[in-house]
Amino acid sequence: MRPRLEARLGVSRTMVYATPVMALLLTMAFGSILFAALGQHPPAVLYAFFVQPISSAYGLAELTVKATPLVLCAIGLSFGFRANIWNIGAEGQLTLGAIAGGGVALWAGENAGPWVLPAMMLAGLLGGAAWAAIPAYLKTRFNANEILTSLMLTYVALLLLSYLVHGPWKDPQGYSFPQSRMFADSALLPLLTMGTRLHLGAPVALFVALAAWWVMARMFIGFQIKVVGLTPAAAGLAGFSVRRLTWITLLTGGALAGLAGLFEVAGPIGQLLPSISPGYGFTAIIVAFLGRLHPVGILLAGLLIALSYLGGETVQIELGLPLAVAGVFQGMLLFFLLATDVLVRYRIRWGRKVITQEAG
């Protein structure tokens, strides 16, 4: 007797939307076991992880600051994922966006006018898109797997940033620290509320999510993306070019990731550093799937995952738990999400293998 998976006849729509919640509850349950094993009192840890970080206005602002890059990257990735284009390199595109946009800020220097911020955003978008254009070209020209190329290019991007801040762009007055000069005030994102780090990026991310919803639900290009993802042959019949959609989804994803990177360096950081992201580009993959590739879902998922970053920091400070707890939480969340997803589509049966056929 071995367990096997048997396809369910129908997939419950409610369950599809319930699985993210179930995954969260399971993560909390197993997280509690983990904390108990570490000698902690689980309710206290859960409180410190999930509640304490957002029990102040400052905390809520921090949550939004962390969610902004996640949402931007995840929205960008979701277009591609819908079309079966698996861009795994948002982290690299984010980095390139930061380099390009940050480069504009450094080039403009102290005498930058009000034009510099729009120019930086444009550069960020273009930088990210340019980095994503490489896998797009390799895929459409040589049919190279975009998962590999986009992932490998991430490391190239990180090394490029490292080279710049160690070399040509290093702050001459920076005591040899690997960092660029601070951006001029005109090259920094305006803060929305005083006393927090909440910046212009948050409303932009919200706007991008709404725009993405409009594109996917109402625009023909969104329809084409869905058809290509679901049934490539039908897309061929209808004359939708897979090549064109590959370019569009990869460039859009890259551009949004690049914008997220620019927002990081022009917002909370204010200069170029060797490390500008705690893996937002990778975590955005979890955010995209947790949000069911739906813009509204991605907004909620982005906030939840942002909370896991904050919660990780809080339990480290308050309870002395390692920061890796945040990563463990994110990993468990994705694991349980995938597991519950499988169980929504399949049931477990014990016994011999049977080929079920569907009658006409």
Binding site: R218, F223, G236, L237, G239, Q357, G360
Partner: protein, 525 residues
């Protein structure tokens, strides 16, 4: 093969259904159905789409459970709860929609259908053995992905025969075969029946049922309306029983005047994209306004390549080889060909002609977006699109749970009506249609044929690729045969010699059969 058990069992029916009822939300699919199948009998099950045949068969095969009623197998009351239990009893089924794994070979697919583990090389021999014995020629090493519909069906049949069934259910088996192949299949089926196997034969081809079957059960609206000896009824009587009212079969008048050519193909050469696909060699044809040209031929002779070349899914090397409405179109993609007036119905409905997980509204948009003006500056005009879907459903009597229903929820016949309707309402100047009535019952087939003939009368040039020779003889003005990627001369249907067509269609099959005897087959040319 001797049946285990007491001789008395030979007198009791192999399978008896009593008072079977099955209720679906909003529809009583089976209503007190009685059916009795004797050992060694070939029994026809006749009925329109939605008459409840599929439901009944699914109950027999253990896919569905009846709400009430009883099943008796060789006289003993049983309940069948799963297909594997049905197979264990000796019930096998060849489905209308194949359940094959595309990326696996023929032999692997057969192995997966068996409940016991068998060595693949042994199995490959056995597949060849059964193929030779029953005239179902297959190369066990080939990957299913590259097989034509006709060849895939052979895999399904062989898979069933491997299990030495006592009851074989066949759902519309001959719709993809040539007359010769169908005749060969009948020999197979009669041979099986003589060996004591009962055959439940679902088909809408009445002439075939009258030639093959000993008894026929006619269903309508979930009930059995008649059980009779089909050989004593005329085809028209059977059709009337099935539909419940009189109907007339459309056919070409033969006196029509044709206009100028709308579609011209000149010396088309095209390599197949699939590994085992058939290349098109030096193919030329013309279809004039108001004309229906039929392309006959057994599946796997280059139909897929030709269709891809015509639809624009595969571009020709030279733009001048395909001309649509006088314009060089060989290098144009599907969207621009549609703008020139081409409409296209592919062979496969789900997964090519329609997106299974999308609604009928979305599937209407899929090919209608340009010619129906459903877009406005990149946005979808949903009101117009819904209206278009509604018109398709109404004009072609598509039975569906509303236009919001997913394409996958429609029966094969209704989805085909939807796809044909979607293309016809675009008022095409040229229509290329593959297998317009495959697996569609008589009533729906008649409706589709009438629609095609009306469209031709309005001046559309229609090219029909079909394996159903009767259909082509009925509706087309001229017929050509596609064999191994080459097209025969076009013949006027009125003056056509059916035996000659049969020979042209069979030429390639005979070639394959001889080549297949030597284990490894040379690539097809």
């Amino acid at each position: 093969m001797a049946e285990a058990g007491v001789p008395a069992q030979r007198q009791s029916p192999r399978l008896r259904l009593q008072g079977i009822s099955k209720q679906f939300p909003g529809c009583l699919a089976n209503d007190q159905v009685d059916l009795s199948l004797a050992p060694g009998e070939i029994h026809a099950l006749l009925g329109e789409n939605g008459a409840g045949k599929s439901t009944l068969v699914k109950i027999i095969y253990g896919v569905l459970k009846a709400d009430s009623g009883s099943l008796h197998w060789n006289g003993a009351r049983i309940s069948i709860t799963s297909p594997s239990q049905a197979r264990g009893l000796g019930i096998a089924m060849v489905f209308q929609h194949f359940s094959l794994f595309e990326s696996m070979t023929v032999a692997e697919n057969v192995a997966l259908g068996l409940d016991d583990k068998v060595r693949l090389d042994v199995l490959a021999n056995e597949v060849g053995e059964i193929g030779r014995r029953y005239g179902l020629i297959l190369d066990p090493e080939r990957v299913v992905h590259d097989l034509s519909v006709g060849e895939r069906q052979r895999v399904e049949i062989v898979r069933c025969l491997m299990q030495r069934p006592r009851l074989l259910i066949m759902d519309e088996p001959t719709s993809v075969l040539t007359p010769g192949e169908a005749e060969a299949l009948f020999v197979t089926l009669r041979q099986l029946a003589d060996e004591g196997c009962t055959i439940l034969y679902i088909s809408h081809k009445l002439s075939e049922i009258r030639a093959l079957c000993d008894r026929a059960t006619v269903m309508r609206e979930g009930r059995v309306v008649e059980t009779c000896d089909p050989r004593e009824e005329t085809a028209h009587d059977l059709a009337r029983l099935m539909i419940g009212e009189d109907f007339s079969q459309a056919s070409k008048s033969g006196t029509a005047q044709f206009g100028a050519p709308r579609l011209r193909v000149r010396n088309l050469h095209m390599a197949a994209t699939a590994i085992h696909g058939t290349d098109i060699t030096n193919l030329s044809l013309d279809v004039a306004a108001g004309e229906i040209l039929g392309i006959a031929g057994v599946a796997g002779n280059g139909q897929n390549t030709l269709l891809a070349a015509l639809s624009g899914e595969q571009l020709a090397d030279d733009a001048a080889t395909i001309e649509i409405e006088g314009q060089d179109a060989g290098q144009l993609g599907p969207r621009r060909r549609r703008r020139l007036g081409l409409a296209f119905v592919p062979e496969e409905r789900l997964g090519h002609g329609a997106v299974p997980e999308m609604s009928l509204v979305d599937n209407a948009l899929l090919t209608g977006y340009d010619r129906q003006d459903l877009l406005s500056r990149g946005s979808i005009m949903f009101a117009r699109t819904r209206d278009y879907a509604e018109r398709i459903v109404n004009s072609f009597q598509v039975v569906a749970g509303g236009i919001g229903a997913n394409a996958s929820s429609l029966s094969g016949g209704n989805l085909q009506k939807f796809i044909i309707g979607r293309e016809l309402l675009q008022q095409p100047k040229i229509l290329v249609v593959a297998h317009p009535t495959w697996g569609v019952d008589a009533g729906a087939a008649a409706a589709i044929h009438t629609a095609l003939l009306e469209l031709a009368e309005q001046g559309t040039a229609i090219l029909v690729v079909s394996q159903d020779l009767d259909e082509l003889l009925q509706i087309s003005d001229r017929i050509a045969v596609l064999t191994a990627g080459r097209l025969s001369e076009c013949m006027m249907t009125a003056a056509v010699d059916v035996t000659q067509i049969g020979l042209l269609m069979g030429a390639h099959v005979a070639e394959n059969a001889t080549a297949n005897d030597g284990e490894k087959r040379a690539p097809q040319t």
